[in-house]
Amino acid sequence: MAVETIAKGPSPTRRAPSPRRRRRYRRSDIAWGAAFVAPAVVLFAVMGAYTIGYGFSLSFATWNGFAPTWRWVGLQNYADLLWADPRYSPRVQGAARNTLWVMVAVPLLTVAVSFPLAVLLNSVRRLKGLLRSVYFLPQVTSGIAVYFAWMYVLQPDGAINLLLRSVGLGSLQQPQGFLGNPSTALPTLIVITVWSSVPIAMMLYLAGLQTIDPNLVEAARVDGAGSWHATRHIVWPLLRPITAIVVLLAVRDSLQGFQTFLVMTNGGPGNHTNVLGLETYKLAFLSQLDPTLGLSSALGWLLFLAALILAVVNLRAMRRLT
């Protein structure tokens, strides 16, 4: 068979295909290629380009989702959100302050928890698989049900207050619950967000740790470096690209994610845990049919812009560091 195949192959003496024949062959390829690409292009055109264009144009209009027409207002929605409308701008400013806290605290705490955890996990010899699974559980179980479970745990008569009382730390109890006290509600939500971000960050660090040449650490040890120094001066710098990704993901989540806040506090008590993502959602879907879909869209685009700037700044900063 092999001989036959070879015999059927192009002969070295065979003439080169004519330009017309070559063109036909290329068109056929293009047709096949287009056929395979077309579904993705059409899907992107409908689900991506159309919706993005629709949402962007909506940010220059007022509409409640029911009225037959939009009212074009130009850049007024953006101005109303930022300073012009006393109904919305104070709320947006308050939400921006809270979001800023979350954006600073969540990436820092995620790195502070996940990096040491990954280093420890990488160094254990036994039960490594089991421990990895345990630490990855928050990621697997993340979802609405888990947030409800957290709510029960954090209530005035919940497990955390009970635990604090039973170990003699009653003074740390929160009589109104950890989500009911405006001073503890936001920090508590930050901790829960970190809890759900750590597994992915830890896995990224673990993957990074596997790529480090053990000889580097070994050489440092030979030179007298202890575990702390080897981690501080060799492992940590080598994992800076991973840190950049972890920070970027955490910042993006903090800026745009709001499901934890929606389910657990809905921005309360009062407006003390309102964040920009949640405010966008409220303007779109919880505004009692007021024509605020345009405002919601405008806030969404402002968030996109902020995310874009932060991503660029973050990447540049990390590139300089690495």
């Binding site: 056929s28 506090t265 309360g268």
Partner: protein, 467 residues
């Protein structure tokens, strides 16, 4: 004939090459057409009506009365529930875009009905609802669902969500009536604390709260779903403030005049009176939504629950013994302007007919059927909700003692607080914004009364500027 050659056409290798691409594009086009074309219509045919509701507790009751309607007319009514409220609105929004609306909707009266009507989703019922039909309803709610001059004027404002409605149109007829500002108390706990009758003044109410709290320090408190901050303001403070100040001064709290609005000494007095409840809130009540607060009462974590007439159905659904409930309206202070404060009923939910229904006559027939006193009473008894029809001197005989007592407590005139009357507030008024400030005062204690009152006025002024 060679392969690829057909009669009348010559299929060259060049055209053949494009066939797969054309086939793929054709398939996509057909697929897209299938997606974007008229979806299967939710509306029924001449023998079936489809109705959407956002109240799960109404489904069984509507289905029960629909059986009688089916026997009488041969028309079947299919009831579908979608909740919570915001999900329901989104569902209607999506259905309107895809022209897939049902025949009938349950709506919040003078809310969704006008917005849906303005968007052309509903049919105008003004010519169908005659005097004979209207007379079956309580006099206080007969106008509810129709566009009065007040609502028409509001609709003329720029960006009004009801822009397009016309004076005299009717977009819904009443299905349930009721009111906010009803206190549900655990009768057994009250008896344990030596309280055997409902308090009639605000001062007595605070005394009762203190007594029960002393007897039951862990679960003797009062709850309301403050995760939706308006519950504290609209269900609790407002009835008390109406009783304290009377109709005119109460309305002035939302006005622009600094001498009489929330920032005035009168406004601060209202907040300070409300603040007397602060020591008696159930711990963590600020984190509970309305259902969770009701459940806190059912589970015995709270002894008092502030709600509306509709709360009883939820409590019963979740297993609370209706015989163990003492209900009374939020009372007025003893030195208040209104001595015998009562609560005026208004239409909470109504029924609307879709503009795209294929069986408008059948839908109207169904609405007329629901307005019959006996049918309405059966629905109310099943749903544990208050009907809009006149049930005579002894409503308890028709709907049971708990609902009957609430109906008997309804009032009218200047001594009755009507939560459905919002004409004194600016058009752009957003309750949660103002109510969140009140929460900072009580229960959160983050601001003093005067500071919170001044901030409330600042927020309300912002809404007036958009008038």
């Amino acid at each position: 004939m060679r392969p690829g050659q057909r009669l009348g056409t010559v299929m060259t290798p060049h055209t053949r090459a494009w066939r797969p691409a054309l086939a793929a594009l054709l398939a996509l086009t057909l697929g897209a057409a299938a997606c974007s074309g008229d979806a299967e219509d939710s509306a029924g045919d001449s023998k079936t009506l489809t109705m959407w509701t956002f109240k799960q507790s109404h489904v069984k009751a509507l289905q029960k009365v629909a059986e009688g309607f089916q026997k009488e007319t041969g028309i079947t009514v299919k009831v579908e529930a979608y909740g919570p409220d915001d999900a329901y609105v989104t569902k209607v929004q999506a259905a309107a875009q895809t022209r897939n609306l049902p025949d009938l909707f349950e709506v919040h009266t003078t809310g969704e009905d006008f917005t849906f009507g303005a968007a052309g989703l509903l049919t105008d019922l003004a010519k169908d609802v005659d005097d004979a039909w209207l007379n079956s309803y309580l006099p206080q709610v007969r106008k509810d669902g129709s566009v009065t001059d007040e609502y028409y004027q509001k609709s003329l404002a720029q960006d009004a969500k009801t822009k397009g409605i016309q004076l005299g149109q009717r977009y819904s007829v009443p299905l349930t009536v009721g009111t906010f500002g009803i206190v549900y108390a655990n009768k057994q706990r009250l008896a344990d604390a030596g309280v055997t009758s409902a308090p009639t003044t605000w001062e007595q109410f605070i005394e009762v709260l203190a007594k029960v709290k002393a007897k039951h320090p862990d679960n003797g408190g009062v709850t309301v779903g403050l995760k939706a901050p308006t519950t504290g303001l609209e269900w609790f403070l407002q009835p008390m403030a109406y009783g304290l100040l009377g109709p005119e001064k109460f309305r002035a709290l939302w006005g622009k005049d600094k001498a009489s609005n929330f920032s005035s000494p009168t406004g601060v007095q209202v907040l300070e009176t409300y603040g007397q409840v602060t020591p008696y809130w159930t711990p963590g009540t600020q984190s509970l939504d309305i259902d969770a607060a009701d459940l806190s009462f059912v589970q015995g974590k709270s002894t008092f629950d502030i709600g509306g007439t509709f709360t009883l159905a939820f409590l019963a659904q979740n297993g609370f013994d209706a015989a163990n409930v003492l209900t009374f309206p939020v009372p007025a202070p003893a030195n208040g302007a209104v001595k015998d404060l009562s609560l005026a009923p208004f239409t909470l939910t109504g029924m609307s007919v879709s503009a795209t229904t294929k069986n408008r006559a059948g839908a109207i027939q169904w609405l007329k059927y629901l307005a019959k006193a006996d049918v309405s009473a059966t629905f109310a008894k099943e749903a544990l909700d208050v009907p809009p029809t006149d049930l005579g001197a002894d409503p308890s005989a028709a709907v049971g003692p708990a609902l009957g007592a609430m109906i008997k407590a309804f009032g009218s005139g200047p001594n009755a607080y009507n939560p459905g009357d919002t004409s004194y507030r600016p058009n752009a008024y957003d309750g949660p914004t103002v109510a969140s400030v009140l929460m900072d005062y009580s229960p959160l204690q983050k601001r003093p009364a005067a500071d919170a009152a001044a901030e409330m006025t600042k927020q309300i002024d912002a809404f007036w500027t958009k008038q």
